[in-house]
Chain length 278, copies 3
């Protein structure tokens, strides 16, 4: 099977098994993350009190750590839950939202990477550059245009991703106009998506939650990350096409995006997936 077919099979598994995805995440996009996890067929639970995160992650199939609005309390919970997930062999997906924007975010991202073994590190190009120490120019939580307009973008980002993947021993997923996913050797490029995805907050977070949903049903995290990114991109394309008269902006698009994840099929992934591997 090729990566599209394997992703379609993973989607079936998500819908059959409904893996429980424990999130410790931000309060901006948390509702959208819960709803997209339900839409893909998995089951979300959000819990961040340190007295319960170890118990909660123990019954989960994936732990998603998203540092969109970090604070001292929730970072401690992320570390405790992450270590427990490691001990139990539960995959950990980490989205270092806004890393590089402040010293605090950079410090806690590295603390999490030092103390928790990550299965998939997912972020935009500025965030992954900041993690790598290459000095991404994060502007708040969005990728800087300086980081995406370079002509050698794809080659540079895949080389960087491979290097970081080997350093951190995890899958790297860089989301952008072209998404780059690698396990350090194999690289997949996903050309799906629509520019409307950048007009609503949380598409990065939601994509990470989809990756987490797929990680809950396989230990092939390269496939899981690629499937999550393809699902998001294809749903974005279909959401745009589904807009009818009067549905002209980001509010309608957001509702339709959830609709399209909800009705996404394996055939969508095999037929619409624009994924190229090297």
């Amino acid at each position: 099977m090729n990566i599209r077919e394997k992703s379609a099979e993973l989607l079936d598994r998500v819908r059959n098994k409904s893996p429980l995805i424990h999130h410790i995440t931000n309060y901006v996009t948390v509702n959208d993350c819960a709803n997209i996890v339900l839409a893909i067929g998995a089951s979300p639970v959000m819990a961040d009190e340190i007295d319960e995160v170890q118990d909660m992650v123990s019954i989960a199939n994936t732990l998603v750590l998203n540092m969109g609005t970090p604070n001292k309390r929730t970072v401690e919970s992320m570390l405790a839950a992450g270590r427990r997930a490691n001990a139990l062999g539960i995959p950990v997906v980490f989205d270092p939202v806004g890393v590089g924007a402040t010293e605090y975010r950079t410090k806690i991202a590295h603390k999490i990477l030092d103390e928790v073994e990550i299965s998939v590190l997912s972020g935009n190009i500025s965030e992954i550059k900041a993690i790598s120490g290459l000095g991404g120019t994060t502007k708040g939580v969005d990728a800087s245009s300086e980081d995406t307009t370079d002509l050698n973008y794809m080659e540079d980002s895949s080389n960087m991703a491979k290097t970081i993947s080997k350093q951190l021993n995890c899958i790297i997923a860089i989301t952008g106009a072209v998404d780059v996913i690698t396990d350090g050797d194999k690289v997949f490029y996903v050309h799906n998506g629509h520019e409307m995805l950048s007009t609503i907050t949380g598409t990065g977070c939601m994509c990470t939650s989809l990756i987490g949903s797929f990680c809950g049903v396989t230990d092939d995290y390269l496939n899981a990350a690629t499937a999550g990114i393809m699902a998001m991109g294809i749903a974005g394309e279909k959401a745009y096409k589904s807009l009818v008269q009067g549905e002209v902006g980001s509010g309608s698009f957001k509702a339709r995006l959830l609709d399209m994840v909800f009705i996404l099929t394996g055939e969508d992934l095999t037929k619409e997936g624009k994924v190229y591997g090297i």
Copy 2:
């Protein structure tokens, strides 16, 4: 008047009086809870700082406690607000989200039940079983399928609900495919609802907020709980029917659900309410 007619009258009262519903709730579904309270005609306020919750609840008509994302800080605020509500005779509606999933949730649910007199305890079957000590198999925050597929579900759940109702001296509202509401003697079964309601996060929380809205205009909390559950179920049915071409999933359904609560009438409750009492 029968329960449908009495619920219709309560809806009129909610729209005329616009009761203030003070929530101490989770950060996942809080926006949806605020919007559904507005849609039914009541007025939401969310406040969880311990230095203000006693003042805030004092001007409220109902206190809603929802432990979807509990932490030490907000649990203390729940206890303080709950005690003040009791002292002032303000109804307290409690949704023990995810109780049974972790020891922490079980402990704090019991602490709240020990220290605060609850008017309505509202949850899914797994949560109510966990409260009762019957060992519900909560999977995260959703009801376990093991708890809902038993052939004797309705008889078992109504017997359990009656027992807990007498123990805790409060209305028990079990939400599910068939909802069960009891004051320990009288039992109402509500057959309204639509399976799409389980595809978005927070329908349980929103239902609890609707119950809270009705509790703000009556001291017949059995009626209030039944009215809230009927309102949610009927709005869910109408939301599904209202979907037009292209509106194929949970994103569109969620917007329409709010629409249908917004235009819900007393006639909807009397004509569409599928409530049976014993």
Copy 3:
């Protein structure tokens, strides 16, 4: 240029410059605030950990402080970020949500006003009255009807607004059926808007975020506040008009509101703006 034309020009600048708007805000409406900031063409970032807010605000173009769900931790962050913004000459927009409802909110609103120089103070009539010490009758977070039905509403509120504006040395923006914006001398009245805006939570917060977006591209904060309020009002009108069959309530309206901010043009502001100045 008149105020409509100047507002249209500001909108162009927002879309070209995409200013970064750092919010320290509540967890009820935070997602809507982020999405409306994106829809108008600016870039939102939410961050409230005291160890990072000073760094974050340093790269921002505006700081928005919204006390919808305040607590001790976030209030300290608001003060620290506000002082840093002042030191760097970055505008601070403050929405004292629910001030007057509890002693705590009144105390922290005054603490913020004492320690931080505010560029625009934005709230409903009950909130601004409470700030002024005139004893607004805030009911939770919504304006009290007692505060809005007076026949002399417009004259009284503009006089009060001018007085407070001079006391606090900032722009005062009172949102309501008629919005009043003043720098202490000049007063603008905005007659745009639609009653559906009061049926969803967070329109006040979103309006404040739009004001913040405009403040990020000019130092004429009177114009910025007027532009933000006009944008919200006109988008509300257009959202209502755009509803099609079956879109009958607050859920659909909310999605369309975001759509209409997304496609708002300078021509909308110049042609649809109902702003009168004295």
